[in-house]
Amino acid sequence: MDVIVDGVTQIWGEASTQVVALDRFSHHFRSGRLSCLLGPSGCGKSTLIQIVGGLEPATQGSVGIHAPGRPQDARPLGADSVMVWQNLNLFPWRSVIDNVAFGLEMQGLGRDERYARARALIGSVGLRGFERHLPGQLSGGMRQRVALARALIMERPILLMDEPFAALDAQTKIVMQEELLKIFDQTHKTVLFVTHAIEEAILLGDEVVVMTARPGRVKEVIAINLPRPRSLELVNSPEFGALFDRTFHLIREEVSAAMAQQDAMASAQS
């Protein structure tokens, strides 16, 4: 499914204290590709994927989900996508299996059926034996897997990921990135992956959409034509190095701009 974002503008706050988070953001995210949204913090990348997921209304502009052989707007925005959140948003009172099966429960599926499907998915993300644990009893990496399984069980064609690995330690992050690559190679979902880590964006993405500091716009789209399946060794290749340099120079300007904005805001407040 293609995701076509057309001129999306997002403005927060009242007239006097307005903040323009996104400014006419347009991009065509192609079906079955993993697109990374890369930008300095505060550039509106999280806001953008929430708008794509139908979880925030955009001030202006539109998001279209295009599937072959289906009239446009046949389903409400958000019905074809599912989100993996930066802070996971697991339900702390629900066991692993009840977190994973949440979406099916909301659809009214019977207990046996949803547990069977949840169990299979929990096994595939390597958490067999932890079905009855509470999220609070798990490590960060394990919680991350629960969040992934909870999204995957929905079997929606578009996966939205908001810096899902940002809070993980370096080793766990590598394992989770490889896991995501494996899932992506198997399922060929359309993935929008928000990150502020250049290496992660290049390693995972078919393209990297570099965003400007606030207000967020598309600064440049870098195609990543590295062969799949990919693994972490790729990081040492000269192609990877060249892409990293190019992306780094683009993002550096924006990070300095974002820092200047933050300084200005801090001094305006004091």
């Binding site: 599912v82 989100m83 948003n89 339900f91 429960e105 909301m106």
Partner: protein, 261 residues
């Protein structure tokens, strides 16, 4: 911090030892100085009185009556407080209407209602139950409401994303998310219920039963040993109720203990 076995032993033994030390000093001072039992009875004679009251059943009777009243008053406050708190959290209209009344009545010291309640309800069971339930109702309703209001937006959005409808979000996300706050409100409510029941047994009670009655009647005839015995039982009762409540909380909401967000 690493503690040596010796330090650990001291840490476990010293608190008990301090209690024993205080009792011994108390006993010795009362005996040597010949302090009148009316003013300060010796621990040993308090223990004798306590034992007699247990053997002849008066302590059990008064304690049982008080416990029964506490649980009835608390149950009334819990059911009505949680129900109204939930409704306020879910409906703007209910909130608007209830908020006026809560804002007006909450700051009022509830014991000041005693004369009115005595006029309306007489000095029987209804008066004691109502005064304690009314007092406990406010912390419970307020905690429930604020628990609902402060439910994590992120969890609500996540549930929306996973296809939950408004009703499912209320029952499967918002109410569970409010549980820690509701349980905290119930703890506050239990505390004031105990205070108000015992106070109402002391003031204007006609039924001549309960720990409050026992205290005041023993005090009036200067049976100070009985006063101390009743105080001791009340303290143990309060501690036991708190422990029981914490145990119930852990059973009802086991995730709170290891929710490290």
């Amino acid at each position: 911090m690493k503690r040596t076995p010796r330090a650990k032993l001291l840490e476990n033994v010293l608190p008990a030892l301090s209690v024993v030390a205080v009792l011994v000093v108390w006993e010795l001072v009362v005996r040597w100085r010949g302090i009148a039992p009316i003013l300060l009875p010796a621990p040993s004679s308090i223990a004798v009185y306590l034992w007699r009251m247990i053997v002849d059943g008066t302590m059990e009777y008064h304690l049982g009556v008080t416990l029964l009243r506490i649980f009835v008053g608390f149950a009334l406050a819990a059911v009505s407080g949680i129900a109204l708190g939930l409704l306020m959290g879910m409906s703007r209209i209910v909130y608007r209407i209830a908020d006026v009344w809560i804002a007006a009545l909450y700051p009022l010291p509830k014991i000041s209602l005693i004369p009115l309640l005595l006029i309306w309800l007489g000095s029987g069971e209804a008066y004691r139950i109502v005064i304690s339930a009314v007092t406990a109702f406010f912390p419970i309703v307020i905690s429930t409401y604020s628990g609902i209001r402060q439910a994590d937006r992120g969890l609500i959005k996540a549930a929306m994303d996973l296809g939950a409808n408004t009703r499912q979000i209320q029952f499967k996300v918002v109410i569970p998310a409010a549980m820690p706050s509701i349980l905290a409100g119930l703890q506050l409510g239990m505390g004031v219920t105990i205070i108000l029941i015992v106070a109402a047994e002391m003031i204007g009670g006609s039924s001549q039963s309960g720990m409050g009655y026992l205290l005041i009647s023993a005090g009036q005839v200067l049976e100070t040993e009985k006063v101390f015995a009743a105080l001791l039982v009340l303290a143990v009762m309060g501690a036991a109720i708190i422990k029981l409540q914490q145990w119930v909380d852990r059973k009802v909401a086991p995730w709170i203990a290891h929710d490290n967000r």
